[in-house]
Each structure stands twice: as C-alpha cells, then as structure tokens.
C-alpha cells in the first residue's frame, strides 16, 4: 500500500511540476507539498543520490550550500541541490522529485541539500546524509527556534549515527553536537581585531558545560565565536582539523592547513562570517577527496552570491542594500557591526519590520534587546531613519543604545523615508530590510536614488 501510494504521489508531484511550468508559477516547494500530502512518508520511498551532503545551522547554510554546489560544478560534478527551493521537508521532497524520473530512477550521483535545522526531525529519519555540515547555532526567531540549545537537541535526536559531521570548532554551541558521531573540525586561528571578552549582548556560551565556571577566551570574534577554555577544569574548544591562519582582510588572503597539507587562498569576502563560510566549503571539499591545491583552483572560478549585499554609486554618494533578517538579533548585530566598520559618513534606514506579522498579529520585539544597536552609536553614523510599523520601538531602542535623539528621524510609511534623508557630502546610505520586505526595500532604494538626483539638481 505504501509503495502504491508513493507511486501515486510521485506521479501527482511530477504533474504539478508540469502544471507550474505551464502556468509560469514559481511554487518552490509545491510538488513536495503535494507528494507529502498524498504519501506522508514520501521521503522514505523516493530514490536519492548515492552520496548526500546536508548543510544546516542557524547562519550561513544557504551561502555554504550554494558555494559547495558551485565549487563541485567546477570540479565537474553536477549535484542535486535545493538552492532554488526551500529547505524544509516539502522543499527537500521537491528537490528529490526533480532528481528522479517518473519511475523513481535517480539521475544524480550526489546531492548537496540545505536543511532547515528545525525540520531535521521530518527529514533525517528518511534521508540519511553521508556528511552533515553544521555551520553554527545561534539565537534566531524566538517564536520558532526558542534558543540554540533547543535546536541542538532537535539535531542530536535526529542526526543518523552513521553521518560524519563537519563542525565549526569556534562555535561551542554546535561543536559538541552528537558526540558519538565521527567528525572533523574547522576553525580560524587568531585574527587581527580579535578580543578576549565578547562585547555582544548575545553570548550563549559563557560558562563551562562541565563545572559552570565562567569560560575564558584565547580569542573571540563575536558573541561566543572563538577559542574558549575553562580556567577551572580541562574543558576547551576542540582542536582544528582544518585551520585557517594568516587571515588578512587587507590583502584578501588566508592560508589553510590540514595534516601535512597547506595552501594559500584568496578570500572571497572580507566579512568574518563569510570567511567561515569559505573555510567550511574548503573543509567539505577536502573531505570529499579533493586536495587543497585542487580546491583552490575550483574556488578561484566562483563567487559568493551577492543578493544580500548590493551597492549603487550615485555621484558622490553610495546606496547600500543590506538584508538584515527580521526578528533575528544575531544577524542584525553582524549587519550593524559591518556598517560600523565601514569608513565615511553614513545615514541608515532601518526597515527590518516583519511585514508578515503586521498582517496577522504584531511583531514580537524581544529581539531588539538582544541585538547590538550599540554599533549604530557613533562610527560615522550621522543620521538614522526608523520606519515601518515598529518605528517607535526602534527609536526607543536606539535611545537606549545611546544614539542622540537629534540624529533619529521617524516615519510610519517606509516609502516616506527617502524624503527625510539629510544627504551629506560623500554620504553612504544604508537600507536595512528584512526577508519579507525585499520588494518594498527596492521602492525605498528607488526613492533614495531619486532624492539624491533631486539634491544634485538644486
């Protein structure tokens, strides 16, 4: 009965793919939804590639998954991948459906699957990865993900025992996951700018898990990302199997060492989180059997997708669009820290309100007080515009962060924000938008460019 139901589900899903193409509708996981609706254990029956690499974690999984797919393509390996779809069970099903024909015959030899960490319990009972990359675990949506320990428990309860783990030694929240599984660790040795005390509001690894003494850090980058040790017992961060060292963001190079092998790599992006993403992919490729030298060659031909980062030059000014995942304090802090690190005078438009929440209820704003708005105090930031449904909450948060009231402007409607810009000479304008306000942010950007144009004609 199960197999018959599966066959019907697969046929229906394949028909839905055709229907979507005919109607030119972009339903990213619709075929998977159809399949699982008809056959709830669809993932149990669908054939899959011989080798599966799963990528999960709170941050960076899309970037790592896409980059790994692209680097493998340079190595001549076309893999099944859900980069254009979703990462929950129905998205994984949709991806696997695209990898088989109507008779459930698999077309690919390998898959790189981005997996939503909370969906692990619906996916891993059936789809058992050979390797699983956990990029990191951090605070995310309070409503959905609660706290990182909760997500770690879900992963631990569902990671198959035979899966080899590729883990970030600099993130103790994920490094200790599923301790019985075979594993390798990657990390980045001490970098310029590292501290010994975290300055961030979020730091979920403050005490030793064994004796509860306050941990010390040989170096820490943000939150609890770094190399920790307990001053009271022998607990410490794992040693690196793959170590990045001599990381230099000015010359944009780093070295990677594993065993007796080492290689010089160009950095694909200067952001620390993207250096971690690159090191993650290098580790995964080496685990797949490629030498560091080969990986360097493949990597030189690909780029990190820049959809989340987009700069437009307008005369003496720049307009930068930055995705700042809504209701995600950790991601917001990284974006604020990045803006603070950039040179020049700046204006910032904050419009990361969750628009979906406005329709259904009201956004839970707890994340504002986990997020380091303090990075927006000073650092050349001369004017901040808060806009959208939660403008008053943003304003209060900025005041709490020490931002002077006279450099904060507010408007309820996002498209009014460009009219409030002060447009300094050589101004750098940043528009921070959430995952469901991409189109609206585009309108605001157009308004900003128009305002700059009008100012230029005065």
């Amino acid at each position: 009965m199960g197999k018959l139901r599966f066959a019907i589900a697969l046929a229906a899903a394949k028909l839905s793919v055709i229907a979507l193409k005919i109607t030119k509708r972009n339903g990213t996981n619709f075929p998977g939804v159809v399949a699982i609706r008809i056959c709830p254990d669809f993932l149990k029956y669908i054939n899959r590639p011989e080798k599966i690499i799963a990528v999960t974690g709170t941050n960076g999984k899309t970037t790592v998954s896409n980059l790994l797919r692209d680097v493998l393509a340079q190595a001549g390996k076309t893999v099944l991948n859900n980069g254009l779809g979703s990462n929950i069970a129905s998205g994984i099903a949709t991806c696997l459906i695209s990898g088989v024909n109507i008779f459930n015959v698999e077309k690919y030899k390998a898959a790189v699957l981005e997996v939503d960490e909370r969906s692990a319990l619906r996916i891993f009972p059936y789809v058992k990865p050979d390797w699983m990359i956990v990029t990191n675990l951090s605070r995310d949506s309070i409503m959905r993900n609660a706290h990182p320990e909760y997500i770690r428990k879900i992963l631990e309860d569902n990671i198959p025992p035979e899966t080899k783990l590729i883990l970030n030694a600099d993130d103790l929240l994920s490094a200790g996951i599923a301790p019985k599984n075979e594993r390798v660790y990657f990390g980045i040795e001490k970098m310029e700018g590292d501290a010994q005390e975290s300055v961030n509001l979020i730091n979920d690894m403050q005490i030793c898990p064994r004796c509860h003494t306050k941990l010390k850090y040989e170096y820490v980058r943000y939150s609890s990302i770094g190399k920790a040790y307990c001053p009271n017992c022998d607990f410490r961060s794992p040693e690196y199997d793959y170590a990045a060292y001599n990381v230099d963001v000015r010359s944009m190079y780093m070295d990677i060492r594993t065993g007796d092998e080492s290689e010089h790599f160009s950095l694909m992006n200067e952001g620390t989180f993207n250096i971690y993403n690159q090191v993650t992919v290098i580790t995964a490729m080496h685990e797949l059997g490629y030498s560091l030298s080969e990986i360097k060659g493949f990597m030189s031909k690909v780029d990190i997708v820049k959809t989340r980062y987009n700069v437009t030059e307008c005369g003496d000014k720049t307009v930068t669009m930055l995705l700042s995942k809504d209701k995600n304090a950790y991601a917001g802090s990284r974006v604020f820290e990045y803006i603070a690190s950039q040179p020049g005078d700046k204006e910032v438009i904050l419009m990361m309100n969750c628009l979906g929440d406005v329709k259904h209820w009201s956004e839970n704003t707890c994340w504002l007080y986990d997020c380091d708005f303090e990075f927006l105090n000073g650092h050349g930031i001369k004017h901040i515009i808060v806009t959208g449904p939660r403008e008053k909450d943003y304003k209060l948060r900025l005041l709490m962060a020490g931002v002077p009231e006279d450099i904060i402007s507010a408007c309820e409607t996002e498209t009014d924000a460009p009219g409030l810009l002060r447009l300094f000479e050589n101004d750098n304008i940043y528009i921070l938008y959430g995952t469901d306000s991409i189109a609206l942010a585009g309108k605001v950007k157009a308004g900003v460019i128009a305002a700059i144009g009008e100012e230029g004609t005065k």
Binding site: I142, Y150, T213, W361, T365, Y369, L396, M400
Partner: protein, 240 residues
C-alpha cells in the same frame, strides 16, 4: 537602589536583561550586582546590604535544571526571605523553578523548589506564542509570551500578578497570570517588560520606595500608548 541579577550568564534569553539596562538608565545611583550560577545569591547573605529588587529571567531547559540544583540547598532561606518581604521578579520559565514540578509529555517529571503550590506541563514540540494584554491593578500591561509550557494553580488562594484582558493567563483556561505573594512577583510575560511598560516599572519602583522617571519617557510612553491601542484593537490577532 540595589538590584541583584541572578545568573545573567545563563538566564538572559529574549532580551530580558534589557530590563536591567533600562533600570540603570532610569534610576540615579543604582547599584546592580550580577551573581553567577556558582555563587550563593547575595540577597540570602546576611552580611550583604539588602536589595530592593532581585531579578531572575528566562533560560534554557537545561539551565533550569542547573539553577534548581544550585538553589535547592537555599530553599528554606529563599522561603524565609520571601516571607520577610524580599522583592523578587522572575520572568518566563524562571517562575517554574519556584513551583512543585515540571512534567514533560514524554512522561518525565522534574521536581522543583516547591515554594509555591502550582505545577507546570511542558510540550517541547509545541511552542505557544502569543501577545499579552493585562492589568497590574489599574495599569495596562502589554507583552509577549513564547513558551513550551503552561502552569496550573494547585492552591486556589494563590494570587496572580496580572489579570488578563487578551491572550492566555497562567494557562489558556484562566484569566489569572503569574503569581504575586507579598513582594514575590512572577510572570510568563517575557522580554523587555519594563521597557515596553514604563508605568508598570514606575509602579514597581514606587512599591520599592524608589521614585524615578522612566528613561526617555516621551519616546517610551509614545511606544507604550501605541502598543496598548494596537493590542486593544479586536482586529489585532493575538496568536502566532
């Protein structure tokens, strides 16, 4: 004003330490002592100067176990301190530590400090998310709930901290929310409770004998009034 924050290295979820930062900005000459989980709470130390407020915030489930283990030896001292009028505010799942037990849907049952006569039921695969609108006396209180648990009063004489106008109470079946016993205050309303409710903070400070204006009063009250109006609007959904 002297404030003790218990175990901020683990009891710090959902921006709740923002409440302490807001107190620091609102109350002149405030002194905040942070007590780590390996230390005895200072408010139980007879050699310490007294504290006007002791605060314990939301934490992970494993941290709950650790805190219970660390506080268990001081159970009688905590009871005595509460009876003597120590002002304590606990938020989110921190309140469950002071009840009788936490039962999981797996059948496991964790004994708690048993200071107050209520019990907690937990469903780790069910996250209960809602907005909250209630009253602290005559004061409107708005906030958020996001939890795996509900608690149930086993002693009908237990008094709530808030009376619910919209959203769930201590559990979805009751209007009473939290616990108020003498100066012990507990609520499932999480996050920046004081920041989004300046009148509540002012009232609690006043009860503690501290006269203070909320920091950034105009902006804070503007945001507060907007939120109360939004949450009072029947068109605003309350459940995620």
């Amino acid at each position: 004003m002297r404030v003790e924050v218990l175990f901020p290295e683990i009891a710090n979820l959902y921006g709740e330490l923002g409440n302490i930062r807001y107190l620091e900005k609102s109350v002149p000459d405030i002194c905040v002592k942070e007590t780590s989980v390996n230390e005895k709470p200072a408010f139980l130390d007879s050699d310490e100067e007294s504290f006007d407020l002791v605060y314990l915030g939301t934490m992970s489930e494993s941290s709950q176990l650790l805190v219970m283990e660390k506080l268990a030896p001081y159970r009688e001292e905590i009871i005595s301190s509460i009876e003597n009028g120590q002002r304590i505010l606990v938020t989110g799942n921190a309140l469950e530590i002071f009840g009788k037990s936490i039962s999981d849907d797996t059948g496991e049952k964790q004994q708690c400090l048993g200071i107050f006569d209520f019990h907690t039921e937990r469903k780790m695969m069910n996250r209960f998310n809602s907005l909250y609108l209630g009253k602290y006396g005559d004061i409107d209180v708005a906030g958020y709930k996001s939890q795996f648990t509900h608690s149930f009063y086993d002693d009908s004489s237990l008094k709530p901290l808030f009376m619910t106008e919209r959203g769930p109470g201590f559990n979805p079946e009751v209007k009473e929310e939290g616990i108020r016993y003498k100066n012990f205050m507990a609520t499932y309303v999480i996050g920046p409770l004081f920041i989004i409710n300046p009148p509540l903070m002012t009232a609690i400070l006043k009860e503690a004998g501290v006269e203070a204006e909320p920091a950034f009063k105009d902006s804070a009250m503007d945001a507060y009034r907007s939120r109360i109006a939004e949450y009072s609007n029947p068109k605003t959904g309350f459940y995620y």
